[in-house]
Symmetry: C2
Subunit: 360 residues, 2 copies
């Protein structure tokens, strides 16, 4: 029943399903991660996350490992069975962000070339987001310009902290400036909490996608907002997965307590901003449903940040559940709202070519 419902023809259905946070990796990156695991390089959060997926024999780890490196029959078959018409691929977490400066630069370039080829070969099914080596900002800007301008990639992926560093730090601002100038979105994706704050999460087995991911990523997004990144770059567009990593739920309290801190002068780093935190969520942030397919959080988040800012994602291969597509189809949207959720918002945010992808 479920499969019959979700595998309808897009023309008949009235929209494509564009999945916007779909994880992928070249084999070379997987191999380098595996080498680092064996060599005990990269830190606790990296070992927790990638050690599991590169070495575990569990059915889930094998499924993820095989899905990540596929952009052919395996992935296309799962997309078809899951009713996904188009996938926006990006280098899976932690991306280049555990590599040395040189390796990060090389792997970003390799990943971008490889992803661009996948998209060129199958423009109806795939778009991609760029990776960069963040610790060398000058080269990162050039690589982003190349990936967007020459290779046709549609955004920039960041897997939260960069060896414990965050985008509120000035060293990364040239890359944000380039995103704004190129008018491509920055997708802020989870990673395990940085090694300075991971211990209590890790010891409880809660550092990964069950909980630590969303703490790490919401903290990162909030640091960006409260440090004034979006006052400096008011046209910077940021995408958050997992229903905004929980921030929409906290909108009122974030505004109330941030206002209190500004008035009391409790922290030197907390300053009056141009807008409320909720307004940044409503004006600079778009949100995807990766890993959060339940109707209630989706409907809730639309009310907080705006219906035109919440779009579909599957989070393949970490979440591959055709039932989750059906779950989101069951949301009591109007036809126009449903089309926006599954198709049109993604086209606008990532600047996809409607003809090339076969938009309805």
């Amino acid at each position: 029943m479920t499969n019959i419902e979700i595998t309808t023809d897009p023309a008949e259905r009235g929209y494509l399903r564009i999945a916007t946070e779909e994880a992928w990796s070249p084999q070379e990156v997987m191999d380098e991660w595996a080498r680092m695991i064996r060599a005990d390089e990269g830190g606790q959060g990296f070992h927790s996350l990638i050690g599991h997926y590169t070495t575990s024999d569990s059915a889930r780890a094998r499924f993820v490992r095989e899905g990540l490196v596929s952009a052919d029959e395996l992935r296309l078959g799962h997309m078809a069975a899951g009713g996904v018409d188009h996938a926006i691929l990006s280098l899976t977490s932690p991306g280049t962000q555990v590599f040395s400066v040189d390796t990060a630069r090389e792997m970003a370039r390799l990943s971008n070339d490889c992803l661009a080829e996948i998209c060129r070969d199958n423009p109806q099914r795939f778009s991609g987001m760029a990776s960069v080596g963040w610790e060398d900002a000058g080269t990162a800007v050039k690589e982003l310009e190349r990936a967007v301008g020459d290779l046709g990639l549609k955004g920039l992926m960041l897997n939260s902290h960069i060896k414990g560093h965050y985008l509120d730090e000035q060293q990364f601002w040239p890359v944000l400036e380039a995103c704004e100038a190129l008018d491509v979105p920055l997708y802020l994706h989870p990673q395990t909490p940085n090694d300075d704050i991971i211990s209590t999460f890790y010891d409880a087995g809660l550092d990964g996608s069950v909980f630590g991911f969303q703490v790490e990523t919401s903290l990162h997004a909030l640091k960006m907002i409260t440090s004034g990144v979006f006052d400096r770059y008011p046209n910077l567009r940021m995408v958050l997965g997992h229903m905004g990593e929980g921030l929409p739920f906290w909108a009122y309290r974030l505004d109330y307590m941030h206002g209190g801190m500004v008035r009391s002068g409790r922290y030197e780093v907390i300053k009056k901003l141009d807008r409320t935190i909720t307004e940044y969520l409503q004006q600079n942030v778009w949100i995807t449903s990766s890993g959060m397919p339940a109707p209630e959080p989706i409907l809730f988040t639309r009310k907080v940040v705006g219906a035109d800012r919440v779009m579909y994602a599957m989070d393949y291969p970490y979440n591959y559940e055709p039932a989750e597509v059906a779950m989101q189809e069951s949301i009591p949207f109007t036809p126009a709202e449903r089309k926006a959720f599954f198709q049109d918002i993604a086209i606008d945010v990532f600047g996809l070519d409607r003809d090339a992808i076969g938009a309805v």
Copy 2:
């Protein structure tokens, strides 16, 4: 306008407003905290939280400092102006949890005696929750029995971590067993993140009630659930403030990813539980609106955990906003739902005496 609406007579209104997470402290505890601040004792999270409120000259810090120690005209005046008829008081964060074992034991006893006297003097306006010195579990159990049995206190307050330790640790189980046996709720209240995980939050000015509080407290609640505390004590009742510290928003993902971890065997500490995480939220947890008065999160949370588990709190003196009472009065409840939200659920959860408090 707002004040006219919220200060109606309870009989005419049809229910009391019972505020369930109202912060208070004996002057002796405030003085001991202030001494520790001056002596540079107690750690980074304690200094961040209490250093501000005991020493800052800002209007907000002064308001909080004066409100905390009051159970007389000042607080009663604010309750009247805010339309709160009855307040369940508890020792404010971090409670006894930064003191030495001996001082914690003494201060818990002092706090319980003092709070019991406040409640005896004005049973219509005040109920209270007990404190204990957690690191000496044997004495803590006896003190809880005394506070509930002899003094008439209505629950046990815990301000999250106990010097970096959490209630999943066996050393604290006797206290949980006593809560279950006495049938009093455990209120799990925020504190700054423990000193092992506070750095990134603190450096960004985000360790307090704006964000770090909810990370710390949701982590604590989740550790309790995933470690099997509620399988061991299935009748233990836990209250979470701040709309469940965000956990209801994550219900689907918590269940999905926890299930994945159980199947893959990724962590030794993650085991199959008797129920889903959502079911513990629906069966062992009650939730208050402290600091989260916005209608949308309240309505959302009721849908996830059940309408009969979500009740009113103000979070005085940290949140003292009559407009927030009006905001919650504006929620499109039926009369019976509104009565339950403001009055009846609190009476049931804390076992309040309807006649003594003047329930409608």
